[in-house]
Symmetry: C2
Subunit: 420 residues, 2 copies
């Protein structure tokens, strides 16, 4: 088994990527944005990227220039570094509430056959320059990817990987608390949690570390997939923390972990509880979900009038023992390509370009949280939502004798029916 | 005031459009898909369009070749004509349930200063070749655009335009019933409804005409906008028909009218009632909503495991009396550009290219309704949705004393707060 290193993928000038010489895996092109930038005339690229990034009405997503030492970190440690700023109107009765937010995506550091302690320590070490880059850039809130301390081993159905589970105040939290304190930065740390007080129950959990290094609280993943190789329901159950919004020094934030992004009700609940930024730390592979990736987060940002930060891990993880995928294909030990592509979406339907599909990255964005209320006032989605209708519908739907509201064509029997 | 005719816009070879010589309005490029097709190498275009159309895992959206007389109708009457086919797996215990579905987008036929009777008759006449093209192509279900019998005059706040309102069995329904019968075709007809039995109440309503020309039922728009020039709340109120699904000869269909597409709960409700295709007849303009247009319908199709057919009218409508828009800009009589771009979205996250942004059009797509269940079985969104959690949340949210679930950082007072 070869070592997998997303960061060693070669990115060509035209935005396409070459084969990884170590294991022959192909990441494909680096990012749609860069691919189009390299291929279209500047004028046409501007028009197309405005369409794709949802820019309109004079709104811009402006690149931010970071200081040279931070760029140097990115070059030295070979991670993608991009920074943007969303625009918002100035208000008369409130000052702007601009926060700088960061997302980190990364591949694992060592082969999955290495001792677990080394694997975790390897990830800690490779994250340090990226966290330093975020902190030195003045990032106020930083979010890491789902289960960032370990390979995404749930595909294997092997219980050995549960050893990576930690308590809320475990090693990874301690590791991050020093950076939170040093940089006065809120850090969201999604880990596999071991709940000692409830019989060693495992959860998929985001720990919210405050900007003084304190633990503010936790959120446990609400919706667990049973699709493809995402055998997470083998390991842990649906979360029991409901939809908490964390009031931090830099605004009200929430965490919609991975598969929860497919559930509009989950996004809605964080919105009803007042979230201004919702993070979606994920681990998902190209074959399965890439067509959905640019859609769901942006829709959530629009529908709920908040910002969304989407993170996907990157690279291909190969496991010691082959497994089957319930698709009739032969056993294999490769989970498929985690396609990165982390990005931010805004409530005005705009979004940033995405990080690389192939390498580690830090994405930074400035956002004025006032934009959330501005969009609520403009579009009025909360006020026109008629929640009472849906409260009633869901209450009826939960009953065994629920009958859908169907109006049948009385002439159905006369028809040349397509229905069987 | 000049006559507005989207169909006279000149579409250049490179997909861009020229100025309309009649009123100087600029539609912009014809469609993103065509713009990229004309600008990228064939190989690169294929890669990019696969990303943008959400094609993956061997799924394709294949063009369908229509018969020459149908293409001739499109050339003669200068409407965009495109046809595609979504793919689905063959099942062992059910035959395929392939239906052919059509969407029509159009500009108005006459200036808004013409006698109302002529305006409506003009639209009837210009639609005939498009409906004939749909019927002759074997379309099973055809949907027209929102309030298709009239200009979208609600921006004016003038009550004179209410004259266009009709009863469910009015002139426009009679007009369409003949085509439904002739072509054995279900037709969805979104009109401004006048409800004589309830004191002349006005509604924004879709009439469902069965394939024998019978009226199956109606649905009234659930959510009414109060944004920009969309002054529809001046004219009619939120619908009282809830979320009916119509069981037709060709499958279970529902209608989410216009602004309802911004409400994930509205989409959800049609899904819970069993819809397999949800139509979204709309009237919306570029400045306001174009960045959201490619996102919301596709998200609904993914989240609810059904097909979506999105329709937007096309062209710029100019009204006799100028009006202001609550944006501090001077009065004007032009509603802005309705950008067409009608398209289909599938539950597997794929979608068709969109119709023109500038001219009338008929979009046809074949879809195997079995794909809906296939995606439900694959992704399990219905089963992992935890509706009981949200039923409870919405019930609590409706109460005056609802308190959001917020966990505040106990060290918040220590922080250099961004919050005011």
């Amino acid at each position: 088994m070869e070592r997998r290193e997303g960061e060693e993928t070669v990115v060509a000038e035209n935005g396409s990527t070459q084969e990884n010489p170590k294991d022959g895996s192909i990441c494909g092109f680096d990012s749609l944005h860069r691919l189009l930038q390299a291929s279209l005339s500047p004028q046409l690229f501007q028009e197309v990227s405005r369409m794709l990034l949802g820019l309109n009405c004079g709104k811009e997503v402006e690149p931010i220039t970071l200081q040279r030492p931070i760029k140097a970190l990115s070059s030295k440690h070979n991670f993608d570094l991009q920074a943007f700023s969303f625009s918002a109107d100035r208000e008369s009765l409130r000052g702007p509430r601009i926060v700088r937010v960061g997302l980190i995506q990364n591949s694992v550091a060592l082969p999955t056959t290495a001792p677990f302690l080394n694997q975790r320590e390897g990830i800690f070490q490779k994250l340090i320059p990226m966290i330093d880059a975020a902190g030195s850039s003045g990032v106020n809130i930083l979010c890491l990817q789902e289960a960032w301390t370990m390979p995404f081993a749930f595909c294997t159905r092997e219980k050995k990987w549960c050893e990576f589970a930690e308590q809320i105040d475990g090693e990874s939290t301690s590791f991050l608390q020093q950076f939170a304190q040093k940089y006065n930065m809120v850090i969201i740390s999604p880990i596999l949690e071991r709940d000692l007080n409830h019989g060693e129950t495992l959860w998929n959990t985001a720990v919210i570390i405050g900007n003084h290094g304190n633990i503010i609280g936790k959120h446990r993943k609400n919706h667990i997939p049973r699709v493809g190789d995402f055998n997470e329901s083998t390991y842990y159950m649906e979360g029991n923390t409901s939809h908490p919004v964390f009031e931090t020094a830099y605004g009200k934030i929430a965490v919609n972990i991975c598969y929860g992004r497919h559930h509009p009700l989950n996004w809605l609940a964080f919105g009803l509880n007042g979230a201004e930024i919702v993070f979606n730390p994920s681990a998902t592979v190209g074959e399965l979900s890439e067509p959905m990736w640019p859609i769901e987060a942006r829709n959530a940002a629009i529908a709920n009038s908040y910002f969304v930060g989407s993170i996907n891990r990157v690279g291909t993880e190969v496991f010691p023992h082959p497994f089957t995928s319930g698709d009739g294909k032969p056993q294999h030990s490769n989970f498929g390509h985690f396609y990165g592509s982390s990005h931010f979406s805004a409530p005005d339907a705009s979004c940033t370009p995405s990080l690389s599909r192939c390498k580690d990255g830090l994405l930074i964005s400035d956002m004025d949280l006032n934009l959330c209320r501005q969009l609520k006032d403009k579009w009025g989605f909360r006020m026109t939502a008629r929640y009472e209708v849906y409260s009633d519908l869901l209450a009826r739907y939960m009953k065994q004798d629920f009958e859908p509201q169907v109006i049948s064509d009385p002439l159905l029997h006369k028809s040349a029916q397509v229905l069987p």
